[in-house]
Amino acid sequence: MRYGYYPGCSLERNAGAYHTSLMAVAAQLGVEFAEVDDWNCCGATEFIAVNRLRAYALVSRNLALAARQTNGSNGAARGQLVAPCSACFLNLSKVDHYLSESPALTNDVNNALAAGGLSYEPGSLRVRHLLDVMVNDVGYERVAATVRRPLRGLRVAPYYGCLVVRPGFRERFDDPEYPTSLDRLMRTLGATVVDFPLKAHCCGGHMTQISRDVALELIRRLLKNAADYQADMIVTLCPMCQLNLDAFQESVNSMFGTEYRIPILFFTQLMGLAFGLPPAAVGIGKEFIDARPALARIGAAPPAEAEAAPKRKPRRNDQSLPLPQMPEEE
């Protein structure tokens, strides 16, 4: 399996652990991510707030480069471009989608691209998020087969954030309100997944720079929810989410008088650990809230199988009403 790879600015430095762990995991799984040569920033949520056409041209340069470098290279007419960052994923897929919808916009964008000797045909790339590729192309079975050191006993809150599941322009692979693919991936690694009602709620994005109070409240809600369910850590798939929950956790504590110490890791870091890779190889140690105390439990012998054993249904009071049946979560 070979994919075009768009790391995005964050993975170059502040979310370097995401990049490191993703490459290490890909090697274990035999998946090749070929970085788009000379890609530029996707504009995050800021560029589009300043100028429309320049924002679309900015993103389209990446699409044009990726299409040229990816399409046809592996025999497939329509190449696939994978973004590990949710904001990059959204911008790439949204621009592709809106260009398809508006020939006038495409025309303007291609006029601009022509100044750099480039052009892009909407729809000629398939833009996907890394999680989608991991669960749907690689698949849970192959992940399970690669697990060497199950994360038994680790209570994980799966955090999707916004843009990977919403608004789902082209590649909708999970429920936009209550996604479950990361839950299942974590269970595949042997971890215990706690219910996390706020799993698709917002981390605040760049609001930390605009209104600190608003942003810290959003972060607090997430930390509180994970703490309420006794999560050992929150696992995420977006560098923005990781940065906000991790680097601002102390600010939340000082503002609200709380004492949260919840490590925030990327899902690829946990995949790597479960695959038996050493912590350093998956970038552990770069987080503000140290993950090592929680991870130390993995190295130890699994605790008495209280958590791993299938939970017995609590004996029902005779009067209780049956719960609605949900479709099998598989």
Partner: protein
Amino acid sequence: MATSASLSRTSDFFREVVAEAPVDPRLEACLQCGTCGGSCPSGPDMDHTPRALFAMIAAGMRDAVLRSNTPWYCVSCYYCMERCPQEIRITDVMYTLKRMAIKAGYSAQTSAPRAPGFAQTFVDHVENYGRSFELGLITRYYLSHRPLDALKMAPLGMGLLKRKRLDLSPRPIRQIDQLKAILDRAREIDAAAQLT
């Protein structure tokens, strides 16, 4: 869908918003149900809920809308757009209103005056280097827009530096000239469109 006939019955400002959006935002379909305002994570901090803002756009209240902090408090979570029963592209409208507010020179008058500065600083960096450069962004943004708050950010910056999560100098893309040419051409196309 908005047709030229149906648009002709809307306020001038409404038409302006629709024209500025990248694709048809379907604003005319708003039922005023409040799903957006209820869903918004930063809704309690906005001076008008998105729903109220749409009613104001329909009523042609240009000044009040462009002075509103609502678009600047949008965190781009897309909950409103996902849930809207009329499939209105609400997040796009928020971006559109930000652009219009900057253009109209109203952005500094909102109760979220820092946001436009941050966005502009970010854009400048991307236009100069092709990629975001966090240390430069934060330093320049705080020093030029919020000197008094710069100290608050210092521990975060130090923490990032200590963990090797911050670059000390920007890493421009190789073909920065190509990108600049593309963006300059986009600027020209915009300017030409303004004239017509």
